[in-house]
């Protein structure tokens, strides 16, 4: 260091460090004392006396030195801080100039940063809005869903049922952990008002619910306790969204009458938006209940019991207490469950949330990687320049500072673009049909998420870009400089590794998003089959006079008369099961041991173990055609499967597997013992796929069976109509046609399958949409990243290519040599990536419920796309260099 100090002094460079200041003071003092000494000597003193006298006259040198430093150092530090700011300003100028010189690099890097930040922020904002926004009810944190449940293998985990009025009365009276209990149930059907008749879906609530949820009206009044008393004038409150959608937000609707069935209700108010009722309070087919009215009679069975815990009471305590009260009442081993709303909500969306979260992380990682890869490739080429600066006295800190400043500039540009994309992304989210979103969530750009994404993307990119600098040790600097003097250094290996890693990681990350999407898409496909776009389901209300045996045929005939109707079928439950409401309710509520049916296979004495049938669906002949359920084996029901013919049955794959393993089930005969009676022998004529529920966390699938209408006396429940073209056009015609056949028929709902699908599947569908967008985005990002890096790396070989052209190589030779090495580089990266993706898929299979592993098509697409991007990226600069005048190219360096 002495040597460098000498140079600095020789060049009269300003002091750089505090030590320099100290040295200057020492020098100054030494000069003074030396001058005094020589002056004293010239007056005749001997050298020794002169030295002593000079020091005596100078006084306490140490104190003077400290006093001088106290004056100088603060000023020096301030000046150095100022200099540092100037350094940064200079670095910004240098960085801006160097970025201007390579606009393609600057543009690519800034675009990548912008896409990464913008995309991640959009998705995180949407996810955040949907999954983390608290429910709008004032005491939402204390509200819980109460149920009675019973452990049973038939149900996913436990069979749950609603608590009865008697049980609720006991809970209300005796439970100390529960403050209050309310109930809610579904009401659907036509509503006649002065503005016409419409089918609305509402909620019947009891008198406690408005208090528990803190419901209030935006227009008119909320239901009050008096509305719930016997003999009160029937009152009804519209929901805000239904008021807007169905009544145009007209406040004169308040005060009018609405007739439901044979009761006329007075519309007394409109619910405030934050008081709407939707999942998980109750799952309606519509997004939120369109009206609420007082519950006058005890609901049949499908009501939800809502409790509010006392402040400070915990869930386990409440569960214990309610269970005890439940068992005191009827002695059965029922278990009370208390599910806080937030848990119910989390359960409902857990699967899709996990995936979205994973996908966002994947894209963020891709962004970091691509930006980092690009920066590393660029930095690798700037090492000679940086080494030169290091020799000229720049500290490592100053070099890092310059790199950081340049990255910062790119980040700034990218960040601005990112905000724009995020704003666009979140506003695009507003285009998502409302019924697909939970009712309480506005989607706005989440600025915290934006900052988080930006910081993550940049820190990641920066860490990658600074890493090579750490290796800039003195020997490295020396070798870089030697290379600079001797000739163009070849860092081909380093670059190849960068590109290879980037390609590999992109493939792995894309593979993950492929797995996630496949998971969702397959759930969707299994559920709906090919019928998705062309079926209308008509649900019959279980009211009205009983239907005679000829009713299904007449109805089917009547509907076939409509244009474009391709197939019509009716499904229902055996009359035995629906004979009386009481009987049905008792069956539905019984622990399923009572509902269990033993299944015997011909030739085997014992029933098939673990084979449990749910209640059979009784279907008319064209059921499978009409619903689009495709048989995997055998035949559908035929006209000949009537009461005189031998009994036939269609079962699903799970049932077939349990009964017959891998052997074919077709032609085998089974008989079912249920409720103590042994049924007749039934021949299996067909096997259908499982109707798998999306996002089921339970691996076991349920057995299903279908019997033909002609052989079982059944009560119609649903009508399925398969149409050519858009089912939404024909759906409105169906009720009229059905009424023409049977004027007394009560229709609960008419659902084109896509509408039904939206209602049932909105969460899954939404997730799929977002994930698909994300995967495409990830692929674009990966291609862009690989393109940028490869074209940059190849572009830096311009000098080498120019030399080769100058030496007489043909354009073709040069291009093909560049392409050959690029392809080797790409292929090794892709190979490593595919291996990595397979490993990740293995891991995912154990971690993700029911993951089917790698999506070959998605992965193949990714590999081809990235490879193509890489080859184009190599070809274009190679061609440019090969065609250009070699001298021009050489001078450019």
């Amino acid at each position: 260091m002495k040597f460098f100090d000498g140079i600095r002094r020789a060049l009269r460079l300003p002091p750089e460090r505090p030590q320099d200041i100290e040295r200057e003071v020492d020098d100054e003092f030494a000069f003074h004392i030396a001058m005094r000494e020589s002056s004293l000597r010239s007056k005749g003193l001997d050298a020794r006396t002169a030295a002593v006298e000079a020091r005596r006259r100078f006084g306490d040198a140490e104190e003077a030195r400290q006093a001088c430093l106290d004056e100088d150092l603060p000023a020096f530090r301030a000046a150095r801080f100022h200099d540092r700011l100037e350094d940064i300003a200079r670095d910004i100028r240098i960085a801006a100039r160097s970025l201007r010189r390579s606009p393609a690099f600057a543009l690519a890097a800034a675009t990548l940063v912008a896409l990464g930040i913008g995309g991640t922020t959009s998705v995180f904002s949407i996810v955040n809005a949907i999954y983390f926004r608290p429910l709008p009810y004032p005491k939402a944190d204390r509200i819980a869903l109460l149920q009675a449940s019973f452990a049973d293998p038939l149900c996913d985990r436990r069979c749950a049922r609603s608590a009865t009025s008697a049980e609720i009365a006991v809970w209300r009276k005796s439970a100390r952990s529960i403050e209050n209990i309310g109930t809610i149930e579904l009401r659907q059907g036509p509503v006649a008002t002065s503005s016409g008749s419409m089918v609305l879906e509402g909620a019947a609530i009891d008198h406690e619910l408005p208090t528990i949820l803190g419901l209030h009206a935006a227009v008119g009044r909320m239901l009050v306790p008096a509305d719930f008393t016997d003999g009160a004038a029937p009152a009804l409150v519209l929901s805000y969204s239904a008021w807007l959608a169905k009544f145009g937000g007209d406040s004169s609707v308040v005060g009018q009458l609405a007739t439901i069935g044979d009761v006329s209700y007075r519309i007394v108010g409109v619910l405030a938006t934050e008081s709407e009722l939707g999942p998980p309070i109750y799952s309606f087919n519509v997004r939120t209940a369109e009206y609420i009215l007082p519950q006058t009679r005890w609901p049949a069975s499908l009501h939800q019991v809502i409790g509010i815990l006392r402040p400070g009471a915990n869930v386990a305590e409440a569960e214990g207490e309610l269970t005890r009260l439940l068992r005191e009442g009827n002695g059965a081993p029922w278990q009370a469950s208390v599910r806080p709303l937030r848990d119910a909500l989390a359960e409902r969306y857990r699967g899709s949330f996990t995936m979205l979260f994973a996908a966002s992380l994947v894209v963020l990682l891709l962004t970091c990687m691509n930006v980092g890869g690009l920066l590393v490739a660029r930095l690798n080429d700037r090492i000679p320049e940086l080494a030169t600066r290091a020799v000229l006295g720049a500290t490592r800190f100053q070099l890092v500072q310059q790199v950081v400043v340049e990255t910062g500039l790119l980040a700034l540009a990218g960040g601005i673009g990112g905000v724009a994309i995020a704003l666009y992304g979140t506003s695009a989210a507003r285009l998502i049909p409302l019924e697909r979103l939970p009712f309480w969530t506005p989607i706005v750009m989440d600025s915290r998420v934006l900052v988080l994404a930006a910081v993550l993307a940049l820190v990641g990119g920066l860490a990658l870009s600074i890493a090579p600098l750490v290796t800039l040790s003195p020997p490295r600097i020396a070798s870089e400089l030697r290379a600079l003097v001797v000739g163009a250094p070849t860092r081909a290996r380093g670059r190849r590794i960068v590109v290879g890693l980037e390609v590999a990681f992109s493939v792995v990350l894309f593979g993950i998003s492929g797995i996630l999407i496949k998971q969702l898409v397959s759930a969707e496909r299994i559920d709906l089959g090919s019928a998705k776009r062309s079926v209308v389901f008509v649900a019959l209300a279980n009211r009205g006079p009983a239907k005679d045996g000829g009713w299904p045929d007449r109805m089917i005939q009547g509907l076939y008369a409509l244009p474009r109707v391709h197939a019509v079928a009716i499904s229902g439950l055996a009359k035995r099961m629906t004979a009386t409401r009481e009987r049905r309710d008792s069956v539905m509520r019984a622990p399923s041991a009572l509902r269990r049916a033993a299944v015997y296979v011909e030739g085997r004495p014992d029933p098939i173990p673990d084979l449990l049938f749910r209640i059979a669906t009784i279907v008319t002949r064209d059921f499978f055609t009409a619903t689009g359920i495709r048989l995997v084996a055998g035949r559908p029901f035929a006209a000949t499967d009537d009461a005189r013919a031998p009994g036939v049955i269609v079962i699903n794959e799970t049932a077939a597997r349990k009964a017959f393993g891998d052997a074919s089930a077709i032609g085998k005969r089974i008989r079912i013992e249920s409720g103590g009676t042994l049924g007749e022998w039934l021949t299996i004529v067909g096997v259908v796929p499982d109707q798998r529920q999306p996002f089921s966390t339970h691996p076991a699938r349920l057995e299903e069976l279908y019997r033909p209408w002609g052989q079982v006396d059944a009560e119609p429940a649903n009508v399925a109509v398969r149409v050519e073209g858009d089912s939404r056009e024909i759906a409105p015609l169906l009720p009229k046609a059905m009424h023409a056949v049977d004027p007394s028929v009560a229709i609960a709902s008419v659902d084109p399958v896509e509408v039904w699908f939206d209602r049932v599947m909105w969460a899954a569908r939404f997730t799929t949409d977002v994930l698909t967008t994300f995967a495409l985005f990830a692929l674009v990002l990966a291609c862009l990243g690989v393109y940028a890096t490869v074209s940059y790396v190849v572009g830096r070989r311009r000098r080498e290519m120019a030399i080769r052209v100058a030496m007489g190589a043909t354009q073709r030779d040069v291009i093909s040599s560049v392409l050959r090495s690029s392809i080797t580089m790409l292929l090794s990266g892709l190979g490593a990536g595919v291996v990595g993706a397979i490993i990740v898929a293995r891991l995912a299979r154990s971690m993700l419920f029911g993951s089917d592993g790698l999506d070959i098509i998605a992965l193949g697409t990714a590999v081809v796309a990235i490879f193509t991007a890489g080859v184009i990226a190599a070809y274009l600069p190679a061609r440019r260099a090969a065609v250009a005048d070699p001298l021009v190219s050489l001078r450019a360096d």
Binding site: R12, V25, D27, E28, F31, M35, E63, A67, C68, A75
Partner: protein
Amino acid sequence: VSSRDINILRESLDLVILKALTSGPRHGYAIAEWIEGATGEVLFVDEGTLYPALHRLARRKLVETEWGVSDNNRRAKFYRLTAAGRARLKQQAPAWHEFVDALSRALRSNAQEHA
């Protein structure tokens, strides 16, 4: 009252240094010599105390510094009066004359005259 006003000795030293530089840049030793000659060595006990004053003046930008070569060809730090330093000298000197006159009158007078 600022510390500058009460520290008469330090202030007076500053003023003398500025005065010493009016005839051109000097290094620390030359300033010390000049002061000795001009004041009869009464102003400071130790020569070393000159330097904190010089550095203070430099920090206040009343003087500026530069490394140069002395008459006997040695490397030395030179001090030069800045415009601000010159202005300071011009502004402070009359006040000091008054102060010193007043002080000496007071010290010469008979204490009983005013009692």
